[in-house]
Symmetry: C2
Subunit: 311 residues, 2 copies
C-alpha cells in the first residue's frame, strides 16, 4: 500500500474521531446536568473513552462513497460509536469478561461500581437510539423529510438488528458460555461468534452510511459484503495484536485472551495462517467494492489500514 | 366507579395481554432458534414473564381514543412491554435491587446467572427498538408509507427518551444511589425518582398510542398529561399494595421495600394521605382527558382501575 493511501486512511480516522468526539463531548456535558450524581459522571466517563472510531470512519467513508455530502451525518456516526461504547462497558463487567483496563483507563465498574456500570451501559444504548431517530435533523434545502425519515428508520432497524440478540448480544453470549464451560470453540464456531460479536456492528456502520447517503440496493449490498470481510479481518488482526502487542499500545490487558484460554485466531490457526487469512479478507473486501465501482475511495484505504495496522 | 366500567377496564387489560403475549411468544420461539444455548432460553424465559400489561393496555386505549383502528398496533404495544421487561431483568440483578422473585417466578439471574441476565436484558432492549422501527408494517389501504414512517420514528424517539438516561435509567440510578448511601429520599426527590423510573415509560406508552393513531398535537399533549397523573397514581398504589399485599398476590417479595429501608409513599406520607393523593391523581388524569374531549373511552376506566386495583 502506498504511503499516501495509508496517510489518507489515518486522516479519515482522525476526522471521524474529531467529529464524533465533539458530539459525544457536548452530549456528556448535557447528561451531567440532567442525570443525578455518579450516573451522570459515569456516562460522561464512558463517552470520553478514547477510541479509534473505526465504525464512525467506516460510516463516513461509505456515506461519501455513495455521494453523501452533509456533515450532519456525524450524528449517526456518534450513535453507532455509542452502541459500541455501551457494549464495552457491559463486556468488561465482572459477570462477563471481568476486565479492569480498557483503552488505557480503569474500566467503568472499577471506578463507579457494577450497578452504575450496568445502568450507564443501558443508558448509552437507549440514548443511541434516540440519537439515531433524531439525527441528522432535516435541512430545508436537502432531501424531503419523508426520504430522510425512511432512511433513519431503516438505520434504526439495521443497527438494532446488528446490536441485538441475533447479532452482538448473541455473539457475546456464545463467548460467555464457552468461557464458563471452559470449552474451546472450533474454527467454525469462532467465526460465527465474531461474525456476531464484532462483525455485525461493523457491517451495520458501513450499511448505515450507505443508506443515509441514498445508495441504491446494489451499492448497499456491495458495501455490506465489503464490511463483512473487513469485520473478520479486524478481529483476526486484533487477536494477532493481542499476542504481539504491549498493554500500553493496545490500551487493554495484552495477552489476556490467551491467558484466559479464550479462543483466538493465532491460537487456532497459528500467526502465519492468520496473517494470510487477514490478507485474503482484504482482497475480498476490495473485490466487493470493485464490483460496484466503489473501489476508488476511502473504503479500500480503510480496509488496508485495518489489515496492516500495528495497534 | 360502576361495575361495568371496571369490567371494561379488565376486558381491555385481558385483550392487551392476549395480543401482546401472542407476539412475544412467537418472538421467543424464533429467538430460541437464532440465539445459542442458555441465552435463547433466557430470552424466552424473560419474554414469558407473566405481567399485567398495563403499558400495552394504555397504548391500545390511547390509540383507539384518537381513532386508530388497526390491530397491527399490537406490535408497538409488544415493543413497549419488552422495554419494561428488560428493565425488570436488570433491576433485579444482585448489583441493583438484588431480588430473587418476580411475578411469582425466580428472577432471570437466579436461573441463568448474572452474565446471561445482563445480556438478555441488553438483547430485549435492543430488539424492542428493532420491533418499533418495523411494526406495524404498512397496509396498502391504510396511511401512506411516509406518514407511517414519520409516526414510527417519533415513537422511537419518545420511547428512547423515556427509557434512557433522562428517564427510566436515570430514575433507577437515583434509586440505586440512595440505597447505596442508605439515605432516604425526601418527598420531592421521591416524586422525581418515580417520575423517571416508572412514570416516563407509562407516559411514553400512552403518547406512542396517540402518535400511531394520528392524533393532533393537542390530543397528544392531553394524553401525555393524563398519563403523567396515571403514572404517579400507579406508583403510589404499588407502594400501598407492597405494605398490605401478600407475596403470592403481588408476585414479588411483599414488604421488601420497607424491609430494605426504601422510600415509599406510605412510609413518607402514611397510608391515608397516600390514598388521598392517588385519588387526586385520578381526578387530574380524567380532567386532562375531559379538556380534550377524550374522557368517554377506556382511558378513564383504565385510570380508575389503576387507582382502585387490589393487586
Amino acid at each position: 500500500m502506498a504511503d499516501t493511501a495509508a496517510r489518507s486512511a489515518v486522516d479519515l480516522l482522525t476526522e471521524a474521531r474529531d467529529l464524533t468526539d465533539r458530539i459525544l463531548d457536548q452530549w456528556a456535558q448535557r447528561l451531567r446536568g440532567e442525570v443525578a450524581g455518579r450516573d451522570g459522571d459515569a456516562l460522561a466517563y464512558a463517552l470520553a473513552t478514547p477510541g479509534k472510531r473505526v465504525r464512525a470512519a467506516l460510516l463516513l467513508a461509505s456515506y461519501r462513497a455513495v455521494g453523501g455530502e452533509s456533515p450532519a451525518v456525524a450524528g449517526v456516526a456518534a450513535a453507532v460509536e455509542t452502541v459500541h461504547t455501551y457494549s464495552l462497558v457491559h463486556d468488561d463487567l465482572p459477570a462477563m469478561d471481568n476486565d479492569s483496563l480498557r483503552r488505557g483507563r480503569p474500566t467503568l465498574h472499577v471506578v463507579y461500581g457494577d450497578g452504575i456500570a450496568i445502568l450507564a451501559g443501558d443508558g448509552l444504548l437507549t440514548d443511541a437510539f434516540a440519537l439515531l431517530a433524531r439525527e441528522p435533523r432535516p435541512e430545508p434545502s436537502a432531501e424531503t423529510d419523508a426520504t430522510l425519515d425512511a432512511r433513519k428508520l431503516r438505520v434504526v432497524r439495521v443497527v438494532a438488528h446488528a446490536a441485538g440478540s441475533p447479532g452482538m448480544v448473541g455473539g457475546q453470549a456464545v463467548d460467555l458460555q464457552a468461557a464458563e464451560a471452559r470449552s474451546t470453540l472450533d474454527a467454525e464456531a469462532l467465526d460465527d461468534m465474531h461474525r456476531r460479536k464484532t462483525g455485525a456492528l461493523i457491517r451495520a456502520s458501513a450499511v448505515a452510511g450507505a443508506v443515509m447517503g441514498g445508495a441504491g440496493e446494489d451499492a448497499i449490498a456491495a458495501i455490506d459484503e465489503y464490511a463483512r470481510h473487513l469485520g473478520l479481518a479486524f478481529q483476526i488482526v486484533d487477536d494477532m495484536l493481542d499476542v504481539s502487542g504491549a498493554s500500553s499500545e493496545l490500551g487493554k490487558t495484552a495477552g489476556k485472551d490467551a491467558a484466559a484460554g479464550k479462543p483466538t485466531y493465532p491460537a487456532l490457526h497459528g500467526l502465519e495462517r492468520s496473517r494470510r487469512r487477514a490478507d485474503r479478507c482484504l482482497t475480498d473486501a476490495v473485490a466487493a467494492l470493485e464490483g460496484a465501482g466503489l473501489s476508488g475511495g476511502r473504503l479500500a484505504e480503510l480496509a488496508d489500514w485495518v489489515v496492516n495496522r500495528t495497534s
